[in-house]
C-alpha cells in the first residue's frame, strides 16, 4: 500500500509530460534549434518554482509523510564526470528526442517501440557500470 502514492504521482507525471508535449521529439528538435520558447519555459518555470519550494522546505524544515525532515544531499563536486557524462547524455537526448522520463511516458502513449529505446538505455547503463573505473569522475 505504501507504493500506491508513488503510482499516483507517476500517473500525474505521465499526464503532465504528455500534455505539455515535453515528451515530443519535435519539441526537443525545436529546443536545440532555439526556434521556440516552449521547452525553455517549461524547464525554467519548473526551476523557479522548484528552487523557491526547496528553500521553503529547508527553512521551515518541512517533514515528509513518514515524519522525517526532508533532507537534500549535496552532490560531490567534480567537473569531468558531469561534463563528459552530460555531453554523452546530450548527444542521446537530441538524437532520440527523449530522456528517461519521456521514454516511459511515450511507451504508454502507444509508441511501443520505446520498449527498445528503454532496453538500449538499460544496456547503456550496464555498459557504464562495466567501464566505470576506467572513466574520469
Amino acid at each position: 500500500m505504501k507504493y500506491i502514492k508513488f503510482l499516483g504521482i507517476g500517473i500525474l507525471f505521465g499526464i503532465i509530460m504528455t500534455k505539455s508535449e515535453a515528451v515530443s521529439w519535435y519539441r526537443i528538435q525545436e529546443m536545440f534549434r532555439f526556434q521556440a520558447f516552449h521547452m525553455y519555459g517549461i524547464i525554467g518555470s519548473a526551476l523557479v518554482v522548484g528552487a523557491i519550494g526547496v528553500q521553503l522546505i529547508k527553512r521551515y524544515e518541512i517533514r515528509s509523510l513518514q515524519g522525517a525532515v526532508i533532507e537534500f544531499n549535496d552532490k560531490k563536486m567534480s567537473i569531468a564526470r558531469y561534463l563528459f557524462g552530460g555531453i554523452i547524455f546530450g548527444l542521446g537526448w537530441a538524437l532520440s528526442g527523449s530522456c528517461p522520463g519521456p521514454m516511459y511516458t511515450l511507451l504508454g502513449n502507444g509508441f511501443t517501440v520505446f520498449a527498445i529505446v528503454i532496453l538500449s538505455a538499460v544496456v547503456g547503463t550496464y555498459t557504464y557500470g562495466l567501464f566505470k573505473d576506467k572513466l574520469p569522475h
Partner: protein
C-alpha cells in the same frame, strides 16, 4: 473540463506542475530522478553478480520503479482520454528544417515513421532508437542523473555539479543537432 485538459498545456502551467511532482515525491519519501530506475533494472536482471556498481539494495528504490510504472499509465491515459484534437503547434522554422532532412512533420508527438518497429531495421531508425537510447543510459549514469535529477532537482537545490551537467547536456545536444544529425539524415 475535459476540453480544457485536452488542449496542449502552456509552459507556465506545465513547468510548475513538474515542480509539484518533485515536491510530491519528496513528501512521499522519494526524490525526483528517473534515470536511477535504469540502474535498478540492471540490478534486478542480476548484473550485481558481475559488476559491483549494480550490487546495491535496489529494493530500497522500488518506489521509483512504481513511479515510472505510473508514468507509463499516465501516458496511456493522456493519449487515450485527453488527446489533443489539434496537431502539435511546432515552430514553422523547425518544420522547415526537418523537411530539409526529409523528415515530415505529421502533427503527432514524434514522427511515426522514425518511431516504429519497421524503422528499427533502417540505419536512421536504428541510430535514433538504439544508439540514442544507449547514449542516454550511458551518459545519465556517468553524469549521475538526467533531466529530472540534474536540470530540475539539482538546479532547484542550486547544485553547481548539476549546472555543469546541464551545460554538458546542451553541448552534447547542440553537437548532435548541428553536426552529427545532418550527417545521419542527409
Amino acid at each position: 473540463m475535459i476540453e480544457f485538459l485536452s488542449q496542449a498545456w502552456a509552459w507556465y502551467i506545465s513547468g510548475p506542475l513538474i515542480a509539484l511532482v518533485m515536491f510530491l515525491l519528496l513528501w512521499a519519501g522519494g526524490s525526483f530522478g528517473v534515470s536511477s530506475t535504469l540502474r535498478s533494472v540492471c540490478a534486478i536482471g542480476g548484473a550485481g553478480k558481475r559488476v559491483d556498481f549494480f550490487d546495491f539494495d535496489w529494493k530500497a528504490q522500488r518506489w521509483n520503479l512504481v513511479f515510472v510504472a505510473g508514468a507509463i499509465i499516465g501516458g496511456f491515459i493522456a493519449a487515450n482520454w485527453l488527446q489533443n484534437p489539434e496537431p502539435l503547434d511546432l515552430s514553422p522554422a523547425t518544420v522547415a528544417d526537418l523537411q530539409a532532412f526529409n523528415i515530415p512533420f505529421d502533427g503527432g508527438l514524434a514522427p511515426e515513421y522514425l518511431f516504429s518497429w519497421e524503422s528499427l531495421m533502417t540505419v536512421q531508425g536504428f541510430l535514433t532508437l538504439v544508439v540514442g537510447g544507449f547514449l542516454v543510459g550511458f551518459g545519465s549514469r556517468w553524469a549521475g542523473g538526467c533531466t529530472s535529477g540534474h536540470a530540475i532537482s539539482g538546479l532547484s537545490n542550486l547544485q553547481l555539479p548539476s549546472l555543469i551537467a546541464v551545460i554538458g547536456f546542451f553541448i552534447g545536444g547542440l553537437l548532435m543537432t548541428f553536426f552529427i544529425f545532418p550527417l545521419i539524415f542527409s
